[in-house]
Point group: C2
Chain length 377, copies 2
Amino acid sequence: MANAYASQSFTLPAPLSLDNGETLASAQIAYETYGELNDEKSNAILICHALTGDQYVASDHPITGKPGWWVRMVGPGKPIDTDRFHVISANVIGSCMGSTGPASLAGDGKPYAMRFPVITIRDMVRGLIALLDGLGIDQLHTVVGGSMGGMQALSLAANFPTRAARVLVLASTARHSAQNIAFHEVGRQAIMADANWLEGDYYGGDVPASGLSVARMAAHITYLSEEGLTDKFGRRLQDRDSKSFGFDADFQVESYLRYQGTGFTQRFDANSYLYITRAMDYFDLAEEFAQSGNDTTEAAKLANAFAGHARGEGARFCLVSFDTDWLYPTAESRHIVHALNAVGAPVSFVELSAPYGHDSFLLDLPALDRVVEGFLK
Amino acid sequence: MANAYASQSFTLPAPLSLDNGETLASAQIAYETYGELNDEKSNAILICHALTGDQYVASDHPITGKPGWWVRMVGPGKPIDTDRFHVISANVIGSCMGSTGPASLAGDGKPYAMRFPVITIRDMVRGLIALLDGLGIDQLHTVVGGSMGGMQALSLAANFPTRAARVLVLASTARHSAQNIAFHEVGRQAIMADANWLEGDYYGGDVPASGLSVARMAAHITYLSEEGLTDKFGRRLQDRDSKSFGFDADFQVESYLRYQGTGFTQRFDANSYLYITRAMDYFDLAEEFAQSGNDTTEAAKLANAFAGHARGEGARFCLVSFDTDWLYPTAESRHIVHALNAVGAPVSFVELSAPYGHDSFLLDLPALDRVVEGFLK
């Protein structure tokens, strides 16, 4: 039985093979669990987190003290019901909340920093599979994730088709677009431009907080819709009656973004941001499964990734997109659905209407609750 | 007769009154002209430039050596025909190509830097009007501008309704949205985070090139459509056959953005970027002309701005938007058209289909040429 609300850590028994050809020795995976695992070990749900997320899905964050990032979805009687399911959420390799990443100590006792290998989404998933092996869980009831969590769910389904009976993908994509890569590159350049970055060797000194804050601000805009920003802030001024004719945060939206940026730097490592954005940019499931010659269309290439689910013999899939999500718009989900259809995998797909853009999967949206509940029945 | 291809400079005979309550003494306006002014002085077209534009509309840029930014539109036999019109383009106050801005010397012989007053779009227009006064031009044939140039054209029409007979506004807006402000704030924070910025007092030393480059990269993404980026770059790699598993510019879109960023820093002053983005964020023509009490709708508020054009007694207007422009989407142009309709001003409006987003007004688009030609007839 899992300890309810304390992070646990799993040390991989074997070196983790990576897509770049290297291996990562003695990698650790930090994880949280909620609800009890049944005797058959058949009620486990793995929740994969997004770029800046972590394993604190439904328990207070140890640094910020804030409630878990998906408390509205996960808990007793909630859509992902911990009275019924054993929920596992693990910090991905490359991140900074206990799993091995650039801030971790390498064999020489010093932080890896930029010596950490460039990893992929599939490498993160290999780490998660090793954790499931360690926990003795052969097949998940469901793997679920939003945004980068959805990429992990897709990668798990593609590379380890027997390991999950259901795959739930929210606001995600099977490939990073040129615009997605472009926004991430802005963030990386902002971090690397920070005088404190020092080619990544800032541990023990001042961290590149200004650069990381700018990276977060730029990314945060992409998580919200234009309409959502207008509803929430419009052109309203912050704590003043008229413009200051200066460079303070006159507008509420400026104040909000600055707060998002600086708050983020207190809980996230800048090098982890570099590595994880890189993994996301590298993600292209069709390319990963491309076979020479025959596949002329993008849909046919992507269909290869789901060969393990052909003719309904694999997992059931559910995809959800949001109509105001311009980071991973509905067309990207539809592209995945077409590929799943091409192999005859059972898939349901819904575009939900929500005003808040990409972040809608994290917000209060009863329609999403109903989709999740229904899919887990 | 104007000298064809050399920048000229005009010193304002009186201090320039600014919206912040201050005045700017001995302000200079650098400008270019093309084509001859007729004896009646009735054939002048003022072209207002965008945020990072300048007066080199149709002549080589003195720093980069590149052709003017609108050579395809302006010249003998072109849509803005210099065989017929006397074209004037002036660097705005606050910029850095010869007009007075933060890099200019203040009365104490040192650069203004952050002592430069925070200006508005209307202040820029006041400078342009002073230039027209100096040139003895009572009424322009047309004032034209795209993006921030369109804001100036709208502000000129609103504040000086007799000074232009035609007003041509491309890919612009009457107000900056929360999302517009948010992207600009990211750019400003990137500049201010640069260790070389030194609260703006970097003149004579190393400039905050890294921060300015990041600002430009973030902004540049907003100038292009997602589709345009995908067409142009997709996920194609830059000069390599496979991913490097590193942080070089693996993808063409990364390489392109970095090039855009660093190239920009060679021709633009970081403090000017702060001041001009601030002026754009402050722009809200409806708010500027708001009358107490009665105007309940946004359209009614904006209509006040165009009171000088009521019942067809003022200028003729033409607005053009682009279907893939997500920076200033068509809805913003439509909002302006509604306000002009409300006062009975003659206005034509077209949304053009173009794949390249906001920057479409600068690119090869025969449909735009026809609209411009037709409106100037």
